[in-house]
C-alpha cells in the first residue's frame, strides 16, 4: 500500500497514577477500512481510543490524522478533525427528542440565530433514512430500543462529518438480528470511505467484519495483521500470550444430593398489569451440577434468579433448600441461606464503584467476620488475599477504587465478593459479559472447580456456546415458563435457540 494511512498514532504512552496503561503503541487505520482493535480487558485498548477521541491526553507520542498532526486538548478537537466515538454505554440524552440529540451542540440556526426546528427535523430524518432507520425524530430517545438508539448515535456522528468512527463493543446489548443490521450499516459506511475502529470480544464478529486486526496485551502493541491471514488460534495466542487448548475445560463431576428445589415459582410484574414474569417455574438443582437457564431477554430466567435471591421487594418465594423449606423475601435471607447472586450488570448492581477493591470484596461478608459491629482491617485483608490470588485479580493494590480496574477484573472482584460468603448455591447471571477471552477461561475453570466442590450453579448466559458447553443440563424459558429441558446430546445451540424462539414467531 503506497497510500498513507488516514490515521497514524505513533509511540503513544499513557500513565494513570501508577499504572502504565498504554506503552509505546503504534496504531494506524486506512480510509475505508474496518479495523478491529482487540485485547483482553485492561490491555489498554480503551485507553488508546479515549486518547484518540480526545477524552484524555497522551503523555507522549503523536497522532497524525488525514495528513495533519493533531494537538488534542479535548473531545471537541477530535470531533472537529472528524474522529467520533460511539461508546458502549450510549451518550444520548434519553429525555430529549431524536432530532435534538443528533444535533446537540450544533443545532442548525435560523436567520435570528434561533434554532431552526424545521431544518433540525428534516436533516435528522434524512440522516436516519440514510441509515435505513425511518423513525419519528420528534419522539424522545428513551422511547426507542437500544438498537435504534445506536443508529441515532451513528447519525449523530455522521452529521459531524466523521471520517473515522470508533465503536466500542456496539453489539453487546443487541440481538443477533439487530447486530446483523448494524453490520450492514457498518459495511455501507465503509463503502463510503469512512474508517471504522471496531472493538469487540466476539470472535465471529471480528472475522465477519474486519479487514485488519490489531491486538494489544498488557498495554503493549502485540501485532497487526490482515484478518484473512490471521488464524483464530494465532489471534487468541496474541491476546492471552499463551495457547488456550480448549476454551471450555472438560470435567466429570459426580452429581450429589438435591440441593435446591423450586416448585411453581411465580413473579408478577410490579407495573399494575399482573403479567407473570416468572410463570410457575419449577426446577431441581443437585450438588455439583451446573444447570443452564436459556431463553431470550425477558423470558424469565434472569427474573427467576432475582426472585430466588429475594431481589424484588414485592415478591418472595418458598424453596426447598438442602431438604428444608425456606422462605426468601430479601437478599439478606438468601445470604443467610448461602445463596449468592452475581448480577448481570456489575456496574449498576454488582459493585460499589466508589469503594476500594477490598471493601467491595468484603461487603457481603462483614457480618460473618465477627460478632461485634467492628470491622478489623487485618481480618478483611486476610479474607481477601486468597481470593485475589485464586481469581488472579490484577490490581496494583487492594486499596484502589474498584472503578479503576478493567471490566474483567471488576467481574472477578464481584465474584470474589460472593465466594467470600461461601455459598452453596451460586446464581450466575451473565458471568462473562463484556470480559476478555483469558478472563472467561478463568471463570469457566472456577465454575468447574466450584461444582466439583459440591456447589450448585444456575447459569445464565447469552453466549450459546458457553451455555451449551458449561451446562450439565439446560432449561429453556419462553415467556416466563420453562418450556423445554435439554440433556446430553440434545444440548446444541440450535436446539436451545429453537426452544427459546418457539411460539414467539407471532411476536418476532
Amino acid at each position: 500500500m503506497s497510500q498513507a494511512p488516514l490515521l497514524q498514532m505513533r509511540q503513544i504512552d499513557k500513565w494513570f497514577g501508577g499504572v502504565h496503561a498504554v506503552s509505546h503503541v503504534d496504531f494506524d487505520v486506512r480510509a475505508g477500512e474496518i479495523h478491529a482493535l482487540i485485547g483482553e480487558n485492561g490491555a489498554g485498548k480503551s485507553t488508546l481510543v479515549r486518547i484518540l477521541s480526545g477524552a484524555i491526553q497522551a503523555d507522549a507520542g503523536e497522532i497524525v490524522f488525514d495528513g495533519r498532526k493533531l494537538h488534542m486538548r479535548g473531545p471537541k478537537d477530535a470531533e472537529a478533525a472528524g474522529i467520533a466515538m460511539i461508546h458502549q454505554e450510549l451518550s444520548l440524552c434519553p429525555n430529549m427528542s431524536v432530532a435534538e440529540n443528533i444535533f446537540l451542540g450544533s443545532e442548525p440556526l435560523g436567520p435570528m440565530r434561533t434554532v431552526s426546528w424545521r431544518r433540525l427535523r428534516a436533516d435528522a430524518e434524512s440522516y436516519l433514512r440514510h441509515l435505513d432507520t425511518p423513525i419519528d425524530v420528534t419522539r424522545a430517545v428513551e422511547e426507542y430500543g437500544i438498537a435504534t438508539q445506536q443508529m441515532v448515535e451513528v447519525a449523530k456522528v455522521l452529521s459531524r462529518n466523521a471520517k473515522l468512527i470508533v465503536m466500542d463493543e456496539p453489539t453487546s446489548a443487541l440481538t443477533d438480528t439487530e447486530a446483523q443490521r448494524l453490520f450492514e450499516i457498518i459495511r455501507a459506511l465503509k463503502a463510503e470511505g469512512v474508517a471504522i475502529v471496531y472493538i469487540s470480544h466476539k470472535m465471529e464478529e471480528i472475522y465477519e467484519l474486519a479487514d485488519r486486526v490489531t491486538v494489544m496485551r498488557d498495554s503493549h502493541w502485540i501485532g497487526t495483521a490482515e484478518a484473512s491471514d490471521l488464524a483464530p488460534g494465532q489471534l487468541i495466542e496474541w491476546m492471552v500470550g499463551r495457547k488456550i487448548e480448549t476454551l471450555f475445560p472438560k470435567r466429570s463431576v459426580e452429581l450429589g444430593e438435591e440441593l435446591l428445589r423450586v416448585e411453581d415459582a411465580v413473579l408478577r410484574a410490579n407495573d399494575g398489569t399482573d403479567r407473570l414474569l416468572v410463570d410457575h417455574a419449577s426446577l431441581s438443582l443437585r450438588a455439583g451440577e451446573i444447570l443452564g437457564l436459556g431463553g431470550l431477554r425477558g423470558a424469565g430466567n434472569s427474573e427467576l434468579l432475582g426472585l430466588l435471591f429475594g431481589q424484588f421487594s414485592h415478591a418472595d418465594v418458598e424453596v426447598c433448600l438442602r431438604g428444608e423449606r425456606v422462605r426468601i423475601g430479601r437478599p439478606s435471607d438468601a445470604l443467610a441461606q448461602r445463596i449468592a447472586l452475581l448480577t448481570n450488570d456489575r456496574k449498576t448492581t454488582g459493585l460499589v464503584l466508589s469503594m476500594s477493591v477490598l471493601h467491595n470484596m468484603t461487603l457481603a461478608s462483614l457480618k460473618r467476620m465477627g460478632p461485634t459491629p467492628l470491622v478489623v482491617p487485618r481480618e478483611e485483608v486476610r479474607a481477601a488475599l486468597p481470593l485475589r490470588q485464586r481469581l488472579s485479580v490484577k490490581t496494583a493494590s487492594l486499596d484502589i477504587e474498584v472503578s479503576a480496574l478493567s471490566g474483567g477484573n471488576q467481574q472477578k472482584v464481584a465474584l470474589a465478593k460472593w465466594l467470600m460468603t461461601e455459598p452453596d448455591v451460586l446464581l450466575l447471571d451473565e458471568p462473562t459479559r463484556g470480559i476478555d477471552v483469558g478472563a472467561k477461561a478463568e471463570i469457566y475453570e472456577l465454575m468447574n472447580e466450584l461444582a466439583s466442590q459440591g456447589k450448585g450453579i444456575l447459569l445464565i448466559t447469552s453466549e450459546l456456546p458457553e451455555l451449551v458447553e458449561m451446562s450439565d443440563r439446560i432449561l429453556v424459558f419462553h415467556r416466563g415458563r420453562i418450556t423445554k429441558e435439554l440433556r446430553g446430546e440434545e444440548m446444541t445451540q440450535q436446539n436451545v435457540m429453537a426452544a427459546a424462539m418457539s411460539g414467539a414467531s407471532s411476536h418476532a
Partner: protein, 381 residues
C-alpha cells in the same frame, strides 16, 4: 510506513520493577513531602496556621506580624521580662477559641458527614439545634430538672427529629432535600411552641424555677478548664468527632454508609440493611444537632428559639471543604474536622486583624470554591 509488522513480545504482567517505577511516579520520594502531597487537607491546614502566624499581630502591636517585621515595627519575640510575645496565632488561647467557636458547627458537621456519605443531605440541623436548645433551657431553667435530664431531653429531641427525617427518606422515599427542608421548617416551629416564642433565660418568667443567676452547670460548660485550654463544650465536640471517626472507619455501619452512598442497589443486593443504615445516619445527625443545641444554650446562657438559623449551611460547607463528596460514597469523618478547622482558622486570622465581617463572608465563599476545585482536580488525576 511498515506494513503489518511482526508481533513483539509483551511482558507477561506488570512486574515488580514496573510497580516500583509506578510507585515513584505517585509522588515525591521524601516521606514528609509525600505525606503532604497525598493529604492536601492537612497541607492546607498547616498552610493556614503558618500564614495565620505570619499575619496575626503580637500583643500590644497592631497589624500583621510579617508586615511589622519588614517595616521594623515588630516587638522582639521575648519582651524585656523574658516572657514570650509571639504573633497571636502561636498562643494557645487562639486555638482554644477557634475550637470553642466552631464546636457547634463542628458537631453539626459530624452528623452531616454521616448523612452526606449516604448521598443524602440534612437541611434541618440548624432548626433542630434550635429546638434542642429550647428544650434544654426549658427543662433546666424553667422546670429545674437536673442537668443530666435536660441534656438527655435535648439529645432526645434531636434524635427524634433525625429519626423522622430518616423515616421520611428511607421508608416514604422522599428526597432528602425535601424531607429535611420540611423538618427545617417544622422544627423551627416546634422550638417556638416549646418556648412560647420567647427566649428562655433565668428569671424570664415568674414561674421559672431559676430566678437568680444562670445555673452553674451552664457556666461551667463554657468556662476554660483542663489547664485553661479546653472548655467542656470543646471537649464534647472533639470526643464526639473522634468517636465518629472510629465508627465510620472501623464499624460495619460505617462501611454501610459508603456502600449505600456509592451504589444503593448493589449495597442492597449484598445484604446491606439500606433502610436501617439511612435511619441510623439521620438519627445520629439529629442526635449531634441536639448536642449542638445544648452547647448553644450553654454558650448563650439562654434557650433561643431562633438559635442555629443558617447553621446547616456552615455544617455543609465544613463537610464539603474537607472533601467529602455531596454525591455520596466518598469522603471521611476526619476530613470534616479538617474542613471545620480550615474555615475556623481563616475566619479567626481575619477577625484578629479586624477584618470586617462582610469581607470574612466573602472570603468564606472563596474558600469553598477553592477547596472543591482542589478536591475535584485530585479526583480526576
Amino acid at each position: 510506513m511498515p506494513e503489518d509488522r511482526e508481533p513483539q513480545e509483551a511482558p507477561e504482567t506488570v512486574d515488580g520493577a514496573e510497580m516500583e517505577e509506578a510507585a515513584r511516579r505517585l509522588g515525591p520520594r521524601n516521606p514528609v513531602l509525600r505525606f503532604l502531597s497525598q493529604n492536601r487537607g492537612v497541607t492546607a491546614l498547616l498552610a493556614v496556621v503558618i500564614l495565620g502566624a505570619l499575619f496575626t499581630p503580637q500583643r500590644g502591636v497592631n497589624g500583621p506580624y510579617l508586615v511589622n517585621v519588614i517595616t521594623g515595627h515588630a516587638e522582639p519575640l521575648r519582651d524585656s521580662d523574658g516572657a514570650w510575645n509571639p504573633p497571636r496565632f502561636l498562643t494557645t488561647k487562639i486555638h482554644s477559641d477557634v475550637l470553642y467557636e466552631y464546636a457547634e458547627y463542628g458537631l453539626l458537621a459530624v452528623g452531616m458527614t454521616l448523612v452526606i456519605l449516604t448521598a443524602g443531605i440534612d437541611l434541618s440541623v440548624g432548626s433542630v439545634l434550635g429546638i434542642a436548645a429550647v428544650t434544654f433551657a426549658y427543662l433546666l431553667i424553667a422546670r429545674g430538672t437536673p442537668p443530666a435530664v435536660a441534656i438527655a431531653g435535648a439529645a432526645g429531641m434531636g434524635t427524634l427529629c433525625g429519626l423522622i427525617n430518616g423515616f421520611l427518606v428511607s421508608k416514604l422515599h422522599l428526597q432528602p432535600f425535601v424531607a429535611t427542608l420540611a423538618m427545617m421548617v417544622a422544627a423551627r416551629g416546634g422550638a417556638k411552641v416549646i418556648s412560647g416564642g420567647y427566649k428562655i433565660q433565668a428569671g424570664g418568667a415568674d414561674w421559672y424555677w431559676v430566678q437568680g443567676d444562670l445555673p452553674e452547670f451552664m457556666t461551667w460548660m463554657v468556662s476554660p478548664s483542663y489547664g485553661g485550654f479546653l472548655r467542656p463544650v470543646t471537649l464534647l465536640f472533639i470526643v464526639s468527632l473522634l468517636v465518629m471517626v472510629v465508627v465510620v472507619k472501623y464499624t460495619r455501619f460505617g462501611r454501610y454508609l459508603y456502600a449505600v452512598g456509592g451504589n444503593e442497589e448493589a449495597a442492597r443486593l449484598s445484604g446491606v440493611p439500606v433502610t436501617g443504615t439511612k435511619i441510623l445516619a439521620y438519627s445520629l445527625c439529629g442526635f449531634f444537632a441536639g448536642l449542638a443545641g445544648f452547647c448553644n444554650a450553654c454558650r448563650t446562657g439562654l434557650g433561643n428559639p431562633e438559635a442555629g438559623t443558617t447553621f446547616e449551611l456552615d455544617a455543609i460547607a465544613a463537610v464539603v471543604i474537607g472533601g467529602t463528596s455531596l454525591a455520596g460514597g466518598r469522603g471521611a469523618m476526619i476530613l470534616t474536622l479538617l474542613g471545620a478547622l480550615i474555615v475556623g482558622y481563616i475566619d479567626k486570622a481575619l477577625s484578629v486583624n479586624n477584618v470586617d465581617v462582610a469581607y470574612r463572608l466573602l472570603a468564606k465563599g472563596l474558600i469553598i470554591v477553592i477547596a472543591v476545585v482542589i478536591q475535584s482536580r485530585r479526583r480526576t488525576n
